[in-house]
């Protein structure tokens, strides 16, 4: 490290300390008078640290509202027929209630079941194959995919720049009328980072907020911890890893994570999805092959197919499957239903905005 660099480092560290102290005092002084701000990012007590680069994109009401408009506006797709909300609907935790595989422009059929959009600020990798590693770049994947929006980023920027309505919204959000791809992505991220689901019955139970679980739900929680929490760990209910959960034999393995890692040992592996709101987000798995949680539990219990990449934790005494009894499966399903967050799916901040006539 050069001397110049070292002195800069010391300078920045000092600045950072001063800033932190200053901000801390500011926050303390605010807390004296203010109640909670609905556009403030607050980490739930039972959640890990956020992964999002807030320092480059601080949330404002106007930025959030702009992101909300863009999320619901089909202007982002080539022929203006498909929006983010086409495959990500609030009443099912922003998953797709209708389609096994996502449907894009010209009724083109995708290759994956849409994942729910929730708790995005806490994720390091996005999509089933984890190819995207920053929330800002998530929309780009849907926008440019020929079977989704089939649109270019440049065209979106041009379309938005041609709209006096949107130019005004960008001005309110970012202090400049000119639309750029960075502002579009920042606005969408501001909307998505606040989409936190942490208010299910389970959350209120685990945070001792007066909620109780039934005896069946408690049995289910215990069974879940014993059988499922190896992968569906933490209160995000995922360890963030990419694993093969025994859906197919070697000859039928989907490319999965190997598309990104270019490593055959990752074939058939997919992101371990969060199980929050899982009772709402059917169908299940990367290709939506299971319609019910019952089918999912039956799969893990006695439907595991062996392959070269299947995860070892899905075996009991060297035999594939977790061998759960019918009652045990039902108990786990009862527990999974406590992860449904009614306040999240009804939160008016995330619903379709009223758009003025343009």
């Amino acid at each position: 490290m050069t001397c110049q660099k070292a002195s800069h480092l010391t300078f920045y560290l000092t600045m950072r300390v001063i800033l932190v102290v200053w901000l801390a005092l500011l926050i303390l002084s605010c807390k004296e008078q203010e109640v909670s701000n609905p556009y403030q990012f607050v980490i739930p007590d039972n959640f890990p640290e956020s992964k999002y680069s807030f320092q480059n994109n601080p949330i404002t009401k106007e930025g959030f509202e702009l992101g909300r408009m863009l999320f619901y506006d089909p202007i982002l797709s080539r022929d203006e027929t498909v929006s983010c909300s086409s495959c990500h609907q609030q009443h099912v935790a922003f998953a797709d209630p209708l389609h096994v595989l996502s449907i894009g422009v010209d009724e083109r059929v995708g290759t994956r079941n849409a994942l729910p959009i929730q708790n995005m600020a806490f994720q390091q990798f996005f999509f089933w194959d984890g190819g995207v590693n920053h929330l800002d770049f998530v929309p780009i994947n849907a926008i440019t995919n020929p079977v989704e929006f089939d649109e270019s980023v440049g065209d979106i920027v041009d379309k938005l720049n041609a709209s006096s309505f949107y130019k005004n919204q960008f001005n309110k959000a970012f202090g400049e009328k000119e639309v750029t791809s960075q502002k579009v992505l920042h606005a969408l991220s501001q909307f998505m980072v606040l989409m936190i689901s942490a208010n299910s019955r389970y959350d209120k139970y685990i945070r001792n907020e007066g909620e109780l679980l039934s005896t069946q739900e408690q049995r289910g929680l215990l069974l879940f911890k014993q059988n499922c929490a190896n992968c569906h760990s933490t209160d995000l209910f995922t360890n963030g890893d990419f694993l093969n959960n025994g859906l197919d034999t070697d000859e039928n393995l989907d490319e999965g994570r190997a598309r990104i890692t270019e490593f055959n040992g990752d074939k058939g592996k997919f992101k371990v999805p969060s199980l929050r709101n899982v009772a709402l987000t059917d169908p299940y798995m990367h290709d939506g092959r299971f319609n019910t949680l019952k089918q999912v539990l039956q799969h893990y219990s006695n439907g595991i197919k062996t392959s070269s990449t299947v995860d070892n934790s899905l075996f009991t005494n060297n035999s594939p499957g977790l061998s759960l009894t019918e009652d045990e499966q039902n108990d786990i399903i009862a527990f999974l239903q406590t992860l449904t967050d009614e306040s999240f799916i009804k939160d008016k901040r995330f619903s379709a905005p009223l758009m003025p006539k343009q």
Binding site: T2, Q4, K5, F11, T14, M15, I18, L19, V21, W22, L25, L26, L28, S29, Y52, S53, N56, N57, G131, V132, N133, H134, L135, D136, F137, I140, N141, I143, T144, N145, S152, V153, G154, V157, T180, S181, Q182, L185, H186, S189, R259, I260, T261, E262, F263, D266
Partner: protein
């Protein structure tokens, strides 16, 4: 509480002010150094969209070029006394990143400003956009995603893009497509590769002198022929007309790093 806040704000502002003043004093006699990137194919100047297959690789396979763009970033200049001038990099991509686009003559010259006076002996830069920038999220300037040099399915910039055609290419339309990128590495993923190349080019004693009155220009040549024939081997258009992913680009990325050299200096 209010008094403490005011005191800290004043302290904070003073600190910023002092730091700014220091910078201003040292930068008064600084100058500019230009880096010109001249793209060639062997002994011929590179031209886009030639009507015929005007160029030839080392294997004698004819080709033409329709698109050539690459990113240069994190530029450093070494001075005779061993110190470095580091071209500042902005978190949002607005500074320190340069897109060299063959179709845009203005983009061929990078202007390094505020360079302290002195004799410089070498330049170091990266070809591409490194992992640290990706963690900063959406970018502006040359890294604006509207430019389209980006893999959306596997987030990352395309460091170096060459497209064209060759009669021996078996791809549709005899196409040649070489997109070099890839910076991700993860434990347990042996084929995830970092294709970022940092190269250092010396000025071979013909040192540019920077001061307030001099405006030296370093003429750098990027030879596309070397991109297809370098330390990692000879690329045949007949058998290898497409490169689209990090692991498939390992060889051309190594060749790419060897395709740049300093030709001469205009003092």
């Amino acid at each position: 509480m209010k008094n403490i806040l005011i005191a800290i704000t004043i302290l904070f502002s003073a600190f910023v002010f002092i730091q700014c003043t220091e910078d201003e004093v040292t930068s008064t006699e600084n100058g500019t150094l230009k880096l010109e990137f001249d793209n060639v194919v062997g002994t011929s100047n590179l031209q886009l969209n030639t009507s015929n297959f005007a160029f030839e690789n080392a294997l004698g396979e004819d080709f033409k070029v329709t698109w050539l763009s690459y990113y240069i970033s994190e530029v450093r200049l070494k001075k005779e006394d061993g110190t470095y001038f580091v071209d500042p990099v902005a978190f949002d991509g607005s500074k320190g990143f340069y897109l060299i686009d063959e179709a845009d003559a203005e983009s061929h010259v990078i202007e390094l400003k505020d360079v302290p006076p002195g004799n410089y002996t070498e330049v170091t830069f990266k070809i591409g956009v490194d992992a640290s920038q990706m963690t900063q999220g959406a970018q502006t300037g040359p890294l604006d995603l509207s430019i389209g040099l980006f893999w959306s399915w596997n987030s990352g910039y395309i460091f170096f893009a060459m497209e064209g055609a060759s009669p021996v290419s078996t791809a549709e339309g005899n196409a040649l497509v070489y997109h070099v990128g890839g910076y991700k590495t993860l434990d347990g993923s042996p084929n995830l590769v970092n294709n970022i190349k940092e190269i250092t080019l010396t000025f071979n004693g013909d040192n540019p002198i920077v001061n307030a009155d001099e405006d030296p220009q370093v003429h750098i040549i990027m030879d596309l022929k070397k991109f297809f024939n370098g330390p990692a081997g000879n690329i045949s258009f007949a058998s290898n007309s497409m490169r689209h992913s990090p692991a498939s680009c390992v060889d051309v990325a190594q060749n790419m790093a060897a395709a740049f050299n300093v030709d001469h200096i205009h003092q």
